[in-house]
């Protein structure tokens, strides 16, 4: 039975470690150049080398994005960079255009994945890309799982599909609003997210109707219900979007999809499993979810009209465990924390431990009533926290946080 890979975003080294430790089979990330997330932390060459070492030690693969649509002058240094990526044993590179693919092939033996930016949506197109050296196609989000399966069957290529996260409303790679309205090339990492702006729409042939809305903003993708379909249609890899998202997002999405894929592979599949997964995916901020085109072509109901705020979430990302010593756990806080707030430690096996520290200590061992954002908090270890290790994500239930703040 084909068991799809869980492929997670790694915006920086911390998120990479979180993704791998929470169960990702592979991660994708960007280096200093040639990628699409210009504002993301990304990885220096040194960090990339360490990232690959860490991932490989834990049995995970690393795919590096070279998926900006490059102009001639952007190609400078690309061959050397490919040789470097090959020397550190990167598992594959993700490209969007045939020119970059050609340079990669000429300079290295790196495996090539076609980015979703190329909007490859049919088996004839996939065949062309196969001839151009691709071993995997990250198909456009307009494709159903069944259609993607047909491409896999007809071409023999590995097929990767997005399973979770934000979605472009446009065909990927075919939106240039940023280029022409803000002077930033959306296909070279400068997208200004103009699809998320509120627009005033003036209908010309419907009685001059005027509407204010987010009519080109897409709901987020959530594919939890479709795990059996990915198996059935031979989809090789399930991709989670979100290199700019938090470690909480990475930990949660990876854990959820890991559990679903493993459960289905073991023959355990139930409505309860899906319901629990959906509830868990409400824990971080998101737009309303939809299934995109996974089952049938996405319709008007997939437009995000802000029925709920994008910030809606059942939990806050509170901290990450950065060190474990004989007596303490050190937590790096991302938001203020009051002394009696129950913490939820999301263990890397999927279990969550709820724990309220008896006392909070700062890094100099002074007892404090409240810890500030961007601070290191020490809590005393106890039997309950035995399984907590570095890179464990810590969250707090939102209603409790809200009450404390009030």
């Amino acid at each position: 039975m084909n068991k799809p890979e869980i492929l997670a975003p790694a915006g920086n080294i911390e998120k990479l470690k979180v993704a791998v430790l929470y169960g990702a089979d592979a991660v994708y990330l960007g280096g200093q150049k040639y990628g699409l997330r210009a504002r993301s932390d990304n990885f220096s060459d040194h960090e990339l080398k360490k990232a690959v070492e860490f991932a490989h030690q834990h049995g995970a693969a690393v795919y590096v994005t070279l998926n900006a649509m490059l102009h001639d002058h952007d190609m400078s240094g690309l061959e050397d960079y490919c040789k470097f990526l090959e020397s550190i044993s990167v598992d594959a590179v993700i490209v969007s255009d045939a020119g970059v693919a050609r340079r990669v092939r000429e300079s290295s033996a790196l495996k090539l994945h076609l980015s979703t930016q190329a909007s490859c949506l049919n088996s004839y197109s996939a065949t062309v890309w196969k001839e151009l050296g691709m071993q995997r196609i990250i198909v456009g989000r307009e494709l159903s799982i069944e259609e993607a399966g047909i491409i896999a069957y007809r071409t023999g290529l590995e097929i990767e599909m997005f399973v979770h996260g934000s979605m472009c409303m446009a065909y990927s790679g075919l939106c240039t609003i940023s280029n022409y309205t803000a002077g930033r090339d959306s296909n070279r990492g400068g997208c200004i997210q103009s699809c998320r702006f509120p627009y005033t729409v003036h209908y010309e042939n419907e009685g001059n109707k005027l509407v204010n809305n987010n009519f080109i903003s897409s709901k987020d993708l959530c594919g939890v219900e479709y795990i059996p379909h990915f198996f059935k249609h031979g989809i090789h890899s399930l991709k989670i979007e979100g290199r700019m998202r938090s470690s909480q997002y990475v930990a949660t999405t990876v854990s959820v999809y890991r559990k679903l894929v493993d459960s289905y592979a073991r023959g355990n599949w139930s409505e309860e499993l899906i319901t629990n997964a959906k509830n868990e995916l409400l824990s971080f901020s998101h737009r309303d979810y939809c299934s995109g085109s996974l089952d049938k072509p996405a319709g008007a109901d997939t437009v995000y009209q802000q029925e709920t705020s994008p910030a809606v979430a059942t939990h806050n990302y509170t901290a990450i465990v950065v060190e474990k010593s004989s007596n303490f756990l050190a937590l790096r806080l991302f938001r203020p924390l009051a002394g009696d707030t129950p913490l939820e430690f999301m263990l890397q096996g999927g279990e969550t431990i709820r724990f309220t520290p008896k006392r909070l200590l700062d890094a100099s061992h002074n007892e404090i009533e409240q810890a500030g954002q961007e601070s290191i908090l020490l809590i005393e270890r106890c039997e309950l926290l035995k399984a907590v290790t570095p890179f464990t994500v810590v969250r707090t239930a939102r209603s409790i946080s809200a009450k404390k703040a009030a």
């Binding site: 949506l121 062309v128 003036h202 072509p297 290191i376």
Partner: protein
């Protein structure tokens, strides 16, 4: 250099025949083309009439297609007798492959929607479709000097949009009216984009947004022509009455050959955003994290907490001797010399060395904000 334009009626054909230099017509059936205006059933007759009039005819099949849509398209294509067409123009690489493999009697023209902005990509297309590809439509995001270079270097004919609407967004989703397959027009404006009124059109193929200024380089073709540009495309479809596509092409091309002021004849505001230079590149240096390049093997640690009165906490990025930490590089790129003192682990035990991943608590270092890098002195040289 020849001109070409879209036609969708007998009247268009009459206008085209009065347009000097116009040697080729593009026939875009509604069912096969994202901006098509010609009923499929009429496309063949129109093409035959154009052929009889001595024009080259091109069938436009420029949809971006899912596996199912591709199949649907093929059944529609099957209803056409392709002998009325000299070439088929496609955007989808899959359609290009299909044409090569199945329609040996017609030439292939490729007009990619994607941002194909480097020579290697364009050359790869010419190789992939070998002698079947007769023409490549180049991107309007390429500046004039690059267009000239590619026209000269590529082993096939090139085309460029000389005047016409500038599509900036294309989705298969119906965004103006759910479930409707008829054409719906609107304008959309966003305060975040200076309320520029962007034309929006929903068709059976999805929703399209256009820039509020049309692309127009009709008066700037000299260098491209000199470089060997084969065809210049003029798209008057938005300014033609329903079921027509070439309204005003005769006046425009007569004016072109009479050296008249062409821009005044164009029915909308115009621009040529990237024709002189593509400045989108300049933004990238500003978008990149400023200290990215300093995050190399000389980096020893990064600051996690700055507590003005009590301590600073750093995390070690590698094993190192704490006395080697000499320089702090702030997130904004500023550097300053530092000396770590009172180093201890989280248990409070004194430290002189630390290992990768370990937290080190030190006496407070003024204004070392989280994210500041700690390096050896040699990092600055």
């Amino acid at each position: 250099m020849i001109f070409n334009t879209y036609i969708s009626s007998e009247n268009d054909l009459k206008l085209v025949l009065c347009a000097p230099g116009l040697k080729e017509v593009l026939i875009a059936p509604e069912e096969l083309s994202k901006d098509g205006k010609t009923p499929l059933a009429y496309a063949e007759a129109l093409a035959s009439a154009a052929l009889d009039a001595g024009l080259k005819t091109v069938l436009v099949w420029d949809l971006v297609m899912t596996e199912s849509e591709f199949k649907e398209s093929l059944s529609k294509l099957a209803s056409l007798k392709l002998k009325a067409f000299d070439a088929i123009r496609v955007s989808d690489l899959g359609a290009a492959r299909y044409v090569c493999d199945n329609f040996s009697q017609v030439a292939l023209q490729l007009a990619p929607d994607s941002a194909d902005h480097n020579y290697d990509t364009l050359y790869s297309y010419s190789r992939a479709f070998a002698d079947r590809l007769e023409r490549l439509s180049l991107s309007i995001e390429l500046p004039e000097d690059k267009l000239c270079e590619y026209i000269k270097r590529l082993p096939l004919d090139c085309e460029i949009l000389a005047a016409g609407p500038l599509k900036i967004f294309y989705t298969p989703r119906p965004l103006l009216h759910a479930g409707s397959r008829r054409q719906i027009k609107a304008t959309a404006s966003a305060a975040d984009m200076s309320n520029r009124p962007l034309p929006v059109i929903q068709t059976a193929h999805g929703t399209h947004l256009y820039l509020d200024r049309d692309y127009f380089i009709l008066h700037k073709l000299a260098k491209l022509t000199e470089a060997g540009l084969y065809a210049a495309r003029i798209d008057l479809r938005p300014y033609s009455p329903a079921r027509h596509s070439a309204h005003g092409i005769d006046r425009l091309l007569n004016a072109y050959h009479n050296n008249s002021d062409l821009r005044t004849l164009w029915p909308s505001k115009t621009g040529s955003p990237f024709f002189k230079t593509n400045k989108t590149t300049a933004q990238f240096k500003r978008l990149k994290p400023r200290i990215l390049e300093t995050r190399d093997q000389r980096c020893l640690a990064t600051v996690l907490e700055y507590n003005k009165d009590k301590h600073t906490v750093i995390t070690a990025l590698k094993d190192f001797n704490l006395s080697d930490a000499r320089i702090a590089i702030h997130p904004d790129g500023r550097m300053r010399e530092i000396t770590l003192s009172g180093c201890r682990d989280i248990e409070g035990r004194p430290l002189s060395n630390c290992s990768e991943g370990q937290l080190v608590v030190v006496n407070s270092l003024y204004a070392l904000t989280p994210g500041t890098l700690i390096t050896t002195a040699s990092s600055c040289t």
